[in-house]
Symmetry: C2
Subunit: 118 residues, 2 copies
DNA sequence: TCCTTAGTTCAAAAGTTATTGAACAATTGG
DNA sequence: CCAATTGTTCAATAACTTTTGAACTAAGGA
């Protein structure tokens, strides 16, 4: 349960592109980007895939260097590795997210929102 | 032998990303981008894959809307659909190509160059 | 016409990725 | 301690993707 992440310079372009080429993973990344800075746990993505399947896709994102997963209690807190991606591939993440937002064939990002604020 | 191409607005982001996520296809696109405006025939890519395999990868690129293939005599002239890609996904192609150029793990673009000028 | 060149198609094999359910940890609240 | 919550792992299967060689088509030149 070591949750290995590649270092910044180990991040590979073809792997990142292939990983983002899956609609489920692209949706996860878009959602993370829309909540930037807020670490999310896996349950936020349960409308995108089954629990088991999510585990698989989140591992792919982590192994590709797109996300970071931190174990906190019984949860995994997931964040976008924006700094690392921007350093390694300037502009790439932004143009992918903008492209996704502009692609009418993709479902709108931002799942059902209920913030616990009390 | 109709060589179908998607229209600009049929180009799908996940499909483009998945198609560019293959190292052989990424190399083809980089080479096309380095020769922008010059239509190339398939033989230019024979150092990247076998003839049959190239046919497969070039079809994938065409079907995704990344390239255009025109039949001219016994050749196919291949061009990058830069205008369409830029229109549909602004900045994406440029950041992918820049990212590829900056990825030391990828082979340098630009295969053996001998221009027939006489 | 015959030959070469350029590329495609087909079917098979190999390899990879995605999806599933059942069983398993680990943490936390009662 | 017990139960619930959160997520992982495993093995199986399904579904794709890539690669290959042999056979093919189509155009162009001698």
């Amino acid at each position: 349960m070591s949750l290995p992440h590649p270092t910044t310079d180990q991040i590979s372009l073809p792997i990142v592109l292939a990983v983002l080429g899956d609609p489920t993973r692209l949706a996860i990344v878009r959602y993370l980007a829309s909540k930037e800075g807020v670490p999310l746990n896996c349950s936020k993505f349960l409308d995108l895939a089954s629990k088991t399947n999510l585990s698989y896709h989140l591992a792919k994102l982590r192994e590709a260097g797109v996300t970071r997963s931190e174990a906190v209690g019984t949860s995994r807190l997931i964040t976008l590795r924006r700094d690392d991606l921007d350093k390694r591939f300037p502009g790439l993440l932004d143009s992918v997210i903008a492209a996704a937002d502009g692609d009418k064939a993709l479902p709108a990002v931002g799942v059902s929102e209920v913030e616990v604020s009390a």
